[in-house]
Amino acid sequence: MPTPTSLIRAISVIAHVDHGKTTLSDRLLEFTGTVAPRDMVEQVLDQLDLERERGITIKAQAVRMLYQAQDGKTYQINLIDTPGHVDFSYEVSRALAACDGAILVVDASQGVEAQTIANAHQAMEHHLKIVPVINKIDLQQANPELVREEIEKALGLPGDTAILASARQGIGTREILEAVVREVPPPTGDPAAPLQALIFDAKFDAYRGVVTYVRVLEGGLRPGMRILMMQTGKTFEVDEVGIFRPDRIPIEELSAGEVGYLIASIRNVRDSRVGDTVTDAARPAAEPLPGYRHVTPMVFAGLFPTDSEQYQDLKEALEKLQLNDASLIYEPETSAALGFGFRCGFLGLLHMEIVQERLEREFDLSLLATAPTVEYRVKLRNGEEVPVDNPDHLPDPAQIESISEPVVLATIVVPSAYVGNMMELSQERRGQFLNMQYEPGDRVIITYRMPLGEIIHDYYDQLKSRSKGYASLDYELAGFEEANLVKLDVLVGGSPVDALSMIVHREKAQVHGRRLAERLKALIPRQLFEVPIQAAIGGKIVARETVPALRKDVIAKCYGGDVTRKRKLLEKQKEGKKRMKRVGNVEIPQEAFMAVLTLD
């Protein structure tokens, strides 16, 4: 028997990274008996190994919990765990759109941070009822009263009603569930209306094809139905619908207000796009749900196999990975220096790191990644505009009218003592100061308009190190802006290495060139001959360093008892070389291609 909509709740837990979102989710699952404590693996909801290792959520998860409230009724609470990183903010927005309420977790000692603000604002935009929770109150440094005030002032939420909790110790769990039942409104959809279900995630299952995560907002979803994806226009027949507890359990129908999954022999996650609306092909809804956005990558890099024989393997691995990751895009790329590989687009640096790590780990590949770059828009003198996501493809300067770069709106939250450092750093990175706001608890919210290209070059690491780890950052894309940009070329051993080219601001080009040459000198091991390293702008050399030739590499003794050991020594030496890329006559190690990331 379907649950009456008045007893359904759909919520999400939102928080700044490390504020205890996942631990709290685990406690809710345990408390409602959804997962028996003995089956509780820490962080049940984070399923990828990588997620568990890094302690972050990459993919959204959804679980149905049954909770018998103090009013004696049993509620169906659907918990949607959202990704916790700025790279995946669109996924977060869709997961929130599938909810009616949100538990906002704030660390009792850290207080409100940049992502707390960004997430809370996002939840408000979706008109979600927010239940503030102050977590980790058992910690010695906890200052819940101050955090109440911050919640009030910085977020405009009633701080005095915030629930005090310790997810680790299970304090406050019942209070949170009661608040959800009491305050989060039940869904308003009509089970008899034409189907409208929002896709908030999709996963590829090797046996079943794509498992699509949906919230049914209107109507009902049943096996056997022919469904239409309203953005892509594709139709499929539903094989199975079900819920997560947290394993998949098939049910007869997902009806208005409920959260679950559908399986419909969909081969590729591309056909099940996050944000798309699922409707009944026979009786389609009048309109798709609002808010769909075609996700575009923000960061681009070349991925090359260190061993050129692995090209085909890499191609197949990317194909497989893409089945499960609609935001990953790639196309073949040829580099004079690195051979055949793929130009890949990612949502951000973390996404890039994750993809590279998964390719190497799950597909046993050895990869070389070029430094990430953003996509520039180049206006040519002939009026044409071309996108450039590879510095080496920048057209001849003589043809260029102007170059625009993507800019973001960056929000930094930091204790007031570090404001100076933050401003200095952001200024160095060509940030344009917009606003500064003092908050209770000695916190300052600073906003900057900044080139995205500056952010992807270790800006976040610098932010952290120059604030002793206190600063937090969130950003959103804010369009393109014209800038005075030039291409910096690098020559190693006299020949240009396309994979080391970068696009930089003209004023910083010389300094960057000098630092890059110095870094490369430190990273490229001595070779049989002297290796000159040059940085050039438009054919003019702006920096030069030299890696001296290897002077001596010889074992004095090699007799009968030494052979195995010496051979292994040399084999190891050689193994190290295999991890390097041969460009012309020069062996360049992997790190050298990433050197441009840490120039500031």
Partner: protein, 373 residues
């Protein structure tokens, strides 16, 4: 399987283990020498039955300090070798000896036991360097040792020297070399003092107590030694070895030419060459007591072995063969590598033979590694 004609016998005992040494050798275990000698003889008898070996062209007593063996012990071992395996007439029988153990009496005893080549660990003649290296002899004793060996009518004497010793200038090193050559040895090995990972020297270098000379200085001493030796009529036939005509160390050539050998004693390695070009290497347990116990129980004391398929064996043969400065034909299977190394100026190709250039000698590891997979 290729017939084995070389036998290495390891004597893992020293009165003092010098701080730069990472060989399999032990001080304070001299009490084990009698039972060790017994085990060694037993192992020789067992391997003689097990492998296609003999009659031998070369026997090499290495260490450690083989000159710590008594006259009787050495004779026993040699008798076992002769009876169990057999020696070819004119076989080369080398004994490594420390100057402190060399006297007219000991030399006559060794000769009587069948030793005909003496390899003397001189290392240096300078008091400061000898103290730094923790050698137990003086320069004078070293010179007297060579004289005693000659007087006892040893006609094949090799002297080991070290260069690149901290605090020893090139001129000082060359003075030592010249003084040693004045004693007319037939063979000289000059080794760079190498900082091996697990030694007290390595510890001192890490702690900053010892600063090793720069590569340029090491190479200066090396090449000037080569010049002096060439002037004295020595052929530079291996990276660290020089000989007067007819006096190349035949035993060591076995290694460099990648011919098979048996090694007996603690930690000793053996190499078998199979007909399909592959090889098998095995080695004994390192500890003397463990060796003695294992041999007593099983007749042998193999601790590990590796099989090298044809191509890897060929790579190893090339890696080690190119150490011979006259060149090697062992790199035949690696035309691409040879061409690349030749282009880089490290090798010259002469028909099927490849030979290191001067630069190739300095970067011999780069050359050797090229032949490995």
């Amino acid at each position: 399987m290729e017939k084995i004609k070389s036998l290495y016998l390891h004597i893992p005992f020293c009165t003092w283990v010098c701080k730069y040494c990472d060989f399999n050798t032990y001080a304070v275990l001299e009490g084990l020498i009698p039972s060790y000698t017994e085990a060694l003889c037993k192992e020789i008898e067992v391997v003689a039955r097990r492998y296609p070996v003999g009659p031998l062209d070369t026997v090499f007593f290495g260490g450690g300090t083989p000159s710590l063996l008594s006259q009787l012990q050495l004779e026993t071992v040699m008798r076992t070798v002769t009876q169990a395996i057999g020696l070819r007439p004119g076989a080369e029988v080398t004994l490594e000896a420390n100057p402190g153990n060399i006297s007219a009496v000991s030399c006559l005893g060794w000769l009587a036991a069948g030793v005909n080549r003496l390899s003397i660990g001189i290392q240096s003649l300078r008091p400061g360097a000898l103290r730094f290296l923790e050698r137990l002899h003086s320069g004078e004793e070293a010179v007297n040792a060579i004289r005693a060996a000659r007087a006892a009518s040893f006609s094949n004497i090799s002297c080991d020297l070290l260069y690149g010793v901290p605090g020893v200038a090139t001129t000082a090193f060359l003075e030592d070399l010249t003084a040693v050559l004045a004693e007319r040895p037939q063979h000289v090995s000059a080794y760079e003092l190498t900082v091996e990972p697990i030694t007290r020297l390595a510890q001192e270098v890490r702690a900053g107590q010892v600063v090793m000379p720069e590569a340029d200085l090491q190479l200066e001493q090396y090449w000037s030694a080569a010049e002096v030796l060439a002037g004295a009529g020595f052929d530079h036939y291996e990276i660290s070895n020089w000989a007067r005509p007819g006096y190349r160390c035949r035993h060591n050539l076995t290694y460099w030419e990648y011919r098979p050998y048996l090694g007996c004693g603690a930690g000793a390695h053996s190499l078998l060459r199979l007909d399909d070009g592959s090889s098998e290497r095995f080695w004994n347990v390192k500890g003397p007591q463990a060796y003695i116990d294992r041999v007593a129980a099983e007749g042998v004391s193999v601790a590990g072995r590796e099989l090298l398929a044809t191509e890897r064996a060929a790579g190893e043969a090339a890696m080690i063969g190119m150490r011979m400065l006259d060149g090697t034909r062992a790199a035949g299977a690696f035309p691409a590598e040879r061409e690349r190394l030749a282009a880089a100026g490290l090798l010259v190709e002469e028909g099927e033979t490849v030979r290191l250039t001067r630069r190739g000698v300095e970067l011999a590891n780069q050359v050797g590694a090229a032949f490995l997979r």
